[in-house]
């Protein structure tokens, strides 16, 4: 019904409790873990067919009946949607493999896998949606499951507190977007992206549409953790179980970035609303605050959460340039950051699994005891720092050059690009400090007790670390994949023409 990729995830989520029950009957508790992994593999396999169709037809529209179009639900899948969905399902698959061992000390695994599968289904639905009705339903599926997953270990104080804070701030963002939708509906009488684009793009801006634009930027900005609205992220991401931190930091905030891209480039087109400089100021603020705060942290996962904020700044900066090169860089960085940050959170989860500590002072020298995990952590940290042969370098410098390129039209973009360059150089400082503490220092008493992580945890980390190197050394196919996504999101005419003939 909602494309095979999402259907499979829903079916596997609904059947997970039965599988868990069968697992307890036959004394094989890992059955539900393997079931969820199988669901992700099937979903990724079915996504490949959609990718093949998109490569030929460019846009795929799924709806009940064409005659009902302005008022019925729609899925409109283009290259950007498939690009995002492939990242979401891929990271979901790795997280699910990782959880086989990582979550074995927790109870309530049936609920855990239901929520994980539903969260990925919600995110895929968000990127496939062709109107605000569908978009909002899947958006809320994603949000509600992520609130519960943050507060999953409800016996401890930190997840409960962080989960409540996350729920209040994030649902405030959601209802602001809902209010903006109601204004857009009142102006045009439809919620379909294509109809909204065609009726808003020719009209002049008025008070109501500017109010809607502001609410959309604030609402999606909360989810994408743009700086004045970022304060939930450094609490919620470390409090969740590490596998979920990898999902939240790696892909859920990217859904916010996707929503900003889609609404800002298709509904509120830059020619009419001129939002570029304002969004760029927010982006520059985001990266500076993220990097500065990351330098001060003592908690490993909290440091990584602040570095996520900084990296979101780079992505939003790529979006705010709004040229083909800027968007290619931004979308490419979405993929790279998902890989790098998931790798780092999974590694920090492996440290947590071994010694039950997130404090950097206690973790000092742990890389000497857990050699493989330590090496992978170093690869991820160097990639985030933008060291040349790794993948972070490619996309960060692509965004930077796009910013310098547009500077010939308006000098202010030179200043923004310079601040971004300073941020990249500045961030190398704390990544190197991290590597120095974890890898080079003498092991403390606590880190001496560490043993190497089990195979089911090493495997996803290894895949991500290899991807970091492969994309860095041979970026060609990945760049063309992301540039096709950027071309699709910039081609508003084609997106509209697929719905309105």
């Amino acid at each position: 019904m909602f494309t095979e990729t999402i259907d499979i995830l829903f079916i596997f989520a609904v059947l997970a409790p039965i599988v868990y029950w069968i697992g307890t009957k036959v004394n094989f508790n890992k059955l539900v873990d393997l079931w969820a992994t199988l669901g992700f593999i099937l979903s990724l396999y079915l996504l490949y067919f959609i990718y093949e169709i998109i490569k030929i037809k460019e846009i795929m529209v799924i709806t009940i009946a064409k005659g009902l179009l302005p008022i019925s639900w729609t899925f409109e899948i283009d290259a950007l949607g498939v690009f995002m969905a492939s990242i979401f399902v891929f990271i979901g698959l790795l997280t699910s493999i990782y959880s086989i061992r990582y979550m074995e000390r927790d109870t309530g695994l049936a609920e855990y896998y239901i929520l994980l599968l539903l969260m990925v289904a919600g995110m895929v639905g968000v990127v496939f949606a062709g109107d605000f009705f569908t978009f909002f339903i899947f958006w809320e599926i994603m949000c509600i499951t992520s609130y519960v997953l943050v507060a999953f270990r409800k016996e401890e104080w930190e997840p409960v507190e962080a989960g409540f804070k996350y729920l209040i701030m994030s649902s405030t963002g959601s209802v602001m977007v809902l209010f903006a939708m109601s204004i857009l509906y009142g102006m045009t009488g439809t919620l379909n992206f294509a109809y909204l684009a065609s009726s808003l793009s020719n009209g002049a801006t008025n008070l109501w549409s500017v109010l809607a634009l502001a609410l959309v930027v604030i609402g999606f900005g909360i989810k994408a953790s743009i700086v004045p609205m970022h304060s939930w992220l450094p609490d919620a991401h470390p409090a969740a179980p590490s596998s979920i931190s990898a999902m939240l930091s790696g892909v859920v905030i990217k859904a916010g970035a996707y929503a900003l891209m889609r609404s800002l480039l298709i509904i509120f087109i830059p020619e009419a609303y001129n939002w570029q400089v304002i969004v760029a100021v927010l982006a520059v603020l985001t990266m500076s605050v993220g990097n500065l705060m990351a330098l001060l942290q003592k908690d490993l996962k909290r440091l990584l959460a602040f570095s996520s904020i900084a990296q979101m700044g780079y992505i939003i900066f790529g979006l705010s340039i709004a040229t083909f090169f800027g968007l290619t860089g931004g979308i490419f960085h979405v993929m790279n950051h998902a890989i790098m940050k998931s790798l780092l959170f999974l590694c920090s989860g492996a440290f947590l699994y071994a010694v039950e500590s997130r404090n950097l002072d206690e973790l000092a020298g742990i890389g000497r005891k857990m050699k493989l995990t330590g090496v992978m952590f170093t690869i991820g940290a160097l990639a985030l720092a933008g060291v040349p042969p790794l993948n972070g370098f490619q996309s960060e410098y692509m965004i930077l050059f796009a910013g310098i390129d547009i500077g010939s039209m308006n000098t202010i973009w030179y200043i923004f690009s310079a601040i971004m360059l300073l941020n990249i150089l500045f961030s190398v400082g704390y990544y190197l400090r991290l590597i120095q503490i974890l890898m080079l220092k003498e092991p403390t008493k606590i880190s001496l007790k560490a043993k190497e992580a089990p195979l089911a945890m090493l495997l996803p980390m290894g895949i991500l670390a290899i991807l970091c190197i492969v994309i860095g050394v041979y970026p060609g196919p990945f760049v063309s994949y992301s540039s096709s996504a950027a071309k699709a999101v910039l081609d508003v005419g084609q997106y509209v023409a697929a719905i309105i003939r």
Partner: protein, 104 residues
């Protein structure tokens, strides 16, 4: 018949009340109620726009959207209250200022 503008003004007042509630109140339950008030402002907007769009015609899109949005609002409240119950068990209070181990 009451004009559309009265509904719009009401919904904007509701929106402002909701934002005020989220910004000022410190009780967990009241924060959740604040979110519900903003949701209702948006729902009222949808319903009034759908009724006034054309003479003698009510748009089914907005009606079904509002029903879905009420259901989703109920889900958010359910999750929020559950987390509030667990927080109450940890801290014996509903005041968010007391939840100060993380900085608000």
């Amino acid at each position: 018949m009451i004009g559309l503008n009265f509904y719009l003004i009401t919904s904007i007042i509701l929106f402002i009340i909701g934002i005020y509630c989220l910004a000022v109140k410190r009780n967990m339950i009241r924060l959740i109620i604040g979110i519900e008030i903003i949701t209702n402002a948006a729902n009222l907007n949808f319903i009034s726009f759908s009724a006034y769009a054309k003479e003698g015609f009510v748009d089914p899109l907005a009606r079904s959207f509002v029903i879905m949005s009420i259901i989703i609002g109920a889900c958010i409240v359910a999750v929020g209250l559950t987390i509030a119950v667990f927080a109450y068990r940890h801290y014996d209070t509903l005041d968010v200022r007391k939840l100060s181990k993380l900085r608000w």
